[in-house]
Symmetry: C2
Subunit: 222 residues, 2 copies
């Protein structure tokens, strides 16, 4: 841990939570499990489109309605609300990736301050971390809902910095999503990319300051 | 055709072009055809993320690099550039949907002015329309490349309006993508949604002024 990292800001969806069980939820309602990836990318696409036009959508509304949209061609009209609700409820029941609990515990021992910052609701992050038994390692679970702007807008990251009283240059954003690192970099934070799948970081975004395969690898590297 | 519609602005990708052959291109390089939908949603997600941070990416660069990213977990490193190029080249060889040629011809007979406005390159739209034999029906093929901002930013639609000297209230944006209609609505244009698949329009975007199942249905409805 280098002295300049006073605060680690963790993304939540997919960075801490393992979203793969949502594929089974799509299968439960008669859709292909692979639709989960296209749905989540489309949800973010639409949320960012609204952000571009100056709007500030509620994640839960967007998530449920975007589920109705992608399921509308495979589920009968009369079952659409129930099907969307079934998949949506899966978000609240996700578990953290296997590397998260030992990694967060090891980071906590270094004394670094940690918060989460999600486009989703703070309560969902609270419950996820409580189920994993690591809620106490985080001093706050923050959401773009209170920031007035979605990530990757600068204002979202600034909300976290302001809440914690930490300058951008002393904070590190940790995420699996390259677009999130790009927004944080633009806002002046340092960035760490968690690449669990061994994939490629898009060259059209600023290179991450740190690349790791698990949360625990951040110890001694940031 | 109501008197107030002086100009129809058509989106290009998927609205005029049939992108379904790209699924076969993914299969050609060993990926699942369904990856095409997740790739394109992710490409737009990342383009919009860059737009949120104030950047103005080149569509071709983003398309090719995002292909390398999604293919990186299924294609060996040494074949990645070739595989991405193979899929990317497919974009330049797409054809229009079956309803486009008769629909555009029927609209042209009403005397309405027509242009295209794409996040992609103007040359790709030119060649698509030339192959279909309907390039002459459009007075210009415009791109966000010259607008300085991607759709759905207001500046992109304003670029088309300025080029044509038409006030926003006399222009109609036609697209299959709800996020595009949302941006146009925010910029003051009227909107028409082409819903070829019989799907659902997301309630988190402003309702389209017109909903049709084919280009030809716009005649007499706008």
């Amino acid at each position: 841990m280098t002295p300049q990292t006073a605060l680690i800001v963790f993304d939540v969806n997919e960075t801490l939570s393992d979203m793969s069980p949502l594929g089974q939820r799509f299968a439960d309602v008669g859709a292909e499990p692979q639709l989960a990836a296209a749905w989540f990318a489309g949800l973010l696409r639409d949320g960012f489109a609204l952000t571009v036009t100056g709007a500030h959508p509620a994640f839960g509304d967007l998530a449920q309605e975007s589920l109705r949209v992608v399921l509308s061609t495979v589920v009968p009209d009369g079952e659409l609300d129930d099907a969307a609700r079934h998949v949506f409820k899966g978000i609240a029941e996700l578990e953290v990736h296997p590397d998260v609990v030992p990694g967060i515990r090891a980071l906590a021992e270094t004394g670094v301050r940690m918060v989460t910052l999600s486009v989703g609701a703070a309560e969902v992050a609270d419950r996820l971390l409580e189920r994993a038994g690591i809620r106490d390692a985080f001093e706050a679970t923050l959401s773009v809902a209170e920031a007035g702007r979605w990530k990757p807008d600068e204002a979202a990251y600034r909300h976290a910095l302001d809440k914690c009283g930490v300058p951008a240059g002393e904070a590190l954003l940790v995420a699996v999503h390259p677009w999130d690192l790009e927004g944080a970099h633009h806002a002046g934070l340092r960035t760490a990319w968690i690449d669990r799948a061994g994939s490629r970081f898009p060259a059209y975004f600023a290179e991450p300051d740190v690349v790791v395969e698990s949360v625990g690898e951040l110890v001694g590297n940031v």
